[in-house]
């Protein structure tokens, strides 16, 4: 036990002495999460609109006055359709609206006036949303008396604020990547700097060395997670927590141990830090890809859906989203805990065996 603690402390000290790594870890846990939360905006906001208005102008002005921030920029006016489409082709504007001469007359005669709309759909999702906004605005002018009203409730994130989601999901990816890389580096650094032989000569059970070394990296990551959740998620991003924070930390601990297992495997097969970075990208990419972080799992190809059950990240992401946003109770979280634990035991055991053979 004393040996275990000594190695653990040695690893922690050598981590905090390597200036570059400390900066790296701090950067990823704070700035990276913050930037992702504030910078990635998938919703259509501030859309640039161009207008060609050949009608008398009363009605079209009324409609255009409804295009305002945050969804739209103030519309720019163009003289001809040619100028408008040139502006779209050069990507100066995203949506072009054309009111023809007949527009106003038709409106008052109740003859179904038409607005022609051109959209730059190279950014498909934003253009779709922009069209949705315009449709909603026109609804007001149509004076339809619908006997039905929809009462929309957006659960867990009323304003559909993308930043909250992006912040949490970026933190999870950071945890995944850093744990693998840090654990692998802890071993391979010894190989590179030649201290591996000293480790082999030590009269210490190699199992204790492996456990202590991987636990030290887990501790570092957990410190980073606490920092990131406290400072970035809660302080500056105002992420809500509807579930139990303790559940999140327990789940994170299990998950970090799981990815540490992958790190052990990478450390066992690579000779230098270069290979670690290449291998970890090759291994982690599919795991992130299959996790449902980008595409919901149910929308994937059926074969991929089965494969995604093998990605520990898929349980972890669903679990964390449930804890932060949905406020799910512990009983309903059990499948996620189970998934992470089972995969974790297998992966850690495999990595442990693999690196143990090198001693």
């Amino acid at each position: 036990m004393k040996i275990f603690i000594t190695i653990l402390l040695k690893e922690l000290i050598s981590f905090f002495r390597s200036f570059g790594l400390v900066i790296l870890v701090i950067y990823f846990f704070t700035a990276e999460v913050y930037v992702a939360a504030n910078g990635m905006e998938i919703e259509a906001k501030n859309v640039a609109v161009g207008v060609v208005d050949k009608s008398a102008g009363g009605m079209s002005k009324k409609i255009l006055s409804n295009l305002h921030s945050p969804e739209f920029q103030t519309p720019k006016f163009y003289k001809s359709q040619k100028e408008l489409s040139d502006a779209i082709y050069n990507k100066n504007i995203m949506v072009g609206m054309i009111f023809d001469e007949q527009f106003e007359k038709d409106y008052y005669k109740k003859l179904n006036p038409t607005i022609n709309i051109l959209i730059d759909s190279t950014t498909a999702s934003q253009s779709l949303m922009a069209i949705g906004y315009i449709q909603n605005i026109l609804m007001k002018f149509n004076n339809l008396e619908l006997p039905v009203a929809l009462k929309m409730h957006k659960l867990f994130n009323q304003n559909a604020d993308t930043g909250l989601f992006m912040g949490v999901s970026e933190l999870l990816s950071v945890i995944t990547l850093l744990t693998t890389i840090l654990t692998a580096i802890a071993f391979v650094k010894e190989k590179e700097s030649g201290t591996w032989d000293i480790m082999l000569l030590m009269p210490v059970n190699p199992k204790i060395i492996i456990l202590a070394k991987s636990l030290s990296q887990i501790i570092i990551i957990m410190i980073g997670v606490v920092l990131s959740v406290g400072l970035i998620l809660f302080q500056s991003l105002d992420v809500p927590i509807n579930g139990n924070l303790l559940h999140f930390f327990i789940l994170t601990f299990f998950y970090v141990a799981t990815t540490a297992g992958i790190g052990l495997f990478i450390a066992a097969v690579s000779k230098n830090i270069m290979q670690i970075s290449q291998l970890s990208i090759v291994i982690m990419m599919p795991i992130i890809f299959l996790s449902g972080a980008w595409t919901p799992i149910y929308a994937m190809h059926p074969l991929l859906q089965y494969l995604s059950a093998l990605s520990p990240l898929s349980y972890y992401i669903e679990g964390c989203e449930s804890i932060f946003f949905r406020g799910t109770s512990f009983v309903d979280l059990l499948p996620y805990f189970g998934g992470v634990l089972i995969l974790g035991v297998i992966l850690y055991w495999y990595g442990f065996r693999k690196i143990g053979k090198l001693f």
Binding site: Y27, V35, G39, M40, E41, I42, I88, Y89, N90, K91, M94, Y107, K110, N112, I115, L118, I119, D120, S121, T122, T123, A124, S125, Q126, S127, L128, M129, I131, I134, Q135, L138, L144, P147, V148, A149, L150, K151, M152, H153, K154, L155, N157, A160, D161, F165, M274, S277, Q278, M285, F289, W294, P296, Y298, A299, E321, S322, F325, R326, T328, D332
Partner: protein
């Protein structure tokens, strides 16, 4: 500049790249990124798992359920359960949306009394929830239209989706990904092969030999430039055949812009390698400098025209935006050399590359610090 020496250095670099298997880097990594992200990022939402609680069980409510069932955007289940149980299902992440039809729905709507349909959407993935709510509104509007509402005087919208008629995700994402990988892979490779010499100490061969700085850089960079130039064609083939992208513009413009852009990326890597003393630092610094601009300030996720303030300026500082403009043009828009914007952006890229290269030449020292 002595060609003989450059040639010898070039050969040495190539042999070393092959021996260390780093030659895989300009091919394997970009392809992996393009394929994974190209298939992985789906902005469209299909198969929304919807639970309909039909408390009315009338003709209209059944008609509405049919509408949802026939839409490819929804996977519906109709169940009889309490609202509380339904909410618990959404908390367990088994469903994405609940639609509750009230019990006197048919009676009231025939009498013209306003009835409210309750909709609950899981917004823990915000942008998806916005799309889902738009879809549901669309279906309900469609249903209302079936019950001949007086539609005279209604403003019609005639929408034309330019460049990407089918609104395919691939056509929107993949060109941007090309801009991303052609920046990252040459930059990392350049930073690596110089940082590697520093780390292993073989940089002293360069310090002590009569090779000039210019020759050293030209030889090193041209080896990578050559490899990545081949990768341009490989990636182009993947984009057009695997992802079935149209190609509407001029291929010459695409090729020329890509070569200039790779040159710029080499300059990035060169600058990083001057600061970085070890390979791992080189990788990390390059990734930090390249991934964020390539994703966020490139116009791939967020259109440049919608940016404001800082973001707008940042986007114009990085070269990615200019290249992406050209590449989206060649794949989807097809103006080619007729557009002055394309030509000015092309020249900008070239100038950017030259400036970075000269800076690298200036800061590279042929002595121990």
């Amino acid at each position: 500049m002595r060609l003989r020496i450059i040639k010898a250095y070039f050969l040495k670099e190539m042999i070393e790249l092959i021996r260390t298997k780093m030659i895989m880097m300009p091919y394997l990594m970009p392809l992996l990124i393009v394929i994974l992200f190209g298939y992985g990022i789906k902005m469209q939402v299909t198969g929304v798992r919807t639970l309909i609680l039909d408390n009315d069980n009338s003709q209209i409510s059944r008609k509405m359920i049919l509408k949802f069932e026939h839409s490819k955007y929804f996977t519906t289940t109709v169940k009889n359960m309490s609202e509380k149980d339904a909410l618990r299902e959404i908390k367990k992440a088994n469903i994405d949306a609940i639609i509750i039809i009230p019990s006197s729905f048919e009676k009231n709507s025939l009498k013209g009394i306003k009835t409210e349909i309750g909709v609950f959407i899981d917004a823990s993935f915000p942008s998806r929830s916005t799309t889902i709510s738009n879809y549901i509104q669309g279906v309900v509007m469609d249903l209302a239209n079936d019950f001949n509402i007086n539609s005279s005087g209604m403003i019609n919208i005639n929408t034309r989706n330019l460049f990407n008629q089918a609104l395919r995700d691939e056509e929107m994402i993949v060109p941007g990904l090309i801009g991303m990988v052609l920046l990252i892979s040459p930059a990392i490779l350049t930073a690596l092969i110089i940082a590697k010499e520093k780390e292993e100490g073989t940089i002293f061969n360069f310090y002590s030999s009569p090779v000039s700085k210019g020759e050293f850089l030209v030889a090193k960079l041209s080896a990578i430039f050559f490899l990545v130039s081949i990768a341009i064609f490989v990636i182009f083939l993947v984009a057009s055949y695997l992802f079935d992208l149209p190609f509407r513009g001029s291929f010459f413009l695409f090729w020329l812009a890509s070569e200039f852009y790779v040159f710029t990326a080499l300059g990035f890597g060169l600058l990083v390698s001057i600061i970085a003393s070890s390979q791992i630092v080189a990788i990390i610094v390059t990734l930090m400098l390249t991934i964020i601009p390539a994703f966020m300030y490139s116009g791939m996720i967020m259109p440049i025209s919608s940016m404001s303030g800082d973001a707008f300026i940042t986007a114009h500082i990085y070269p990615v935006m200019y290249y992406n403009h050209i590449i989206y043009d060649t794949f989807l828009i097809g103006q080619g050399f007729n557009s002055p914007t394309n030509i000015s952006y092309l020249l900008l890229l070239f100038g950017y590359g030259i400036v970075l290269f000269l800076l690298g030449l200036l800061f590279l020292k042929k002595e121990i610090k």
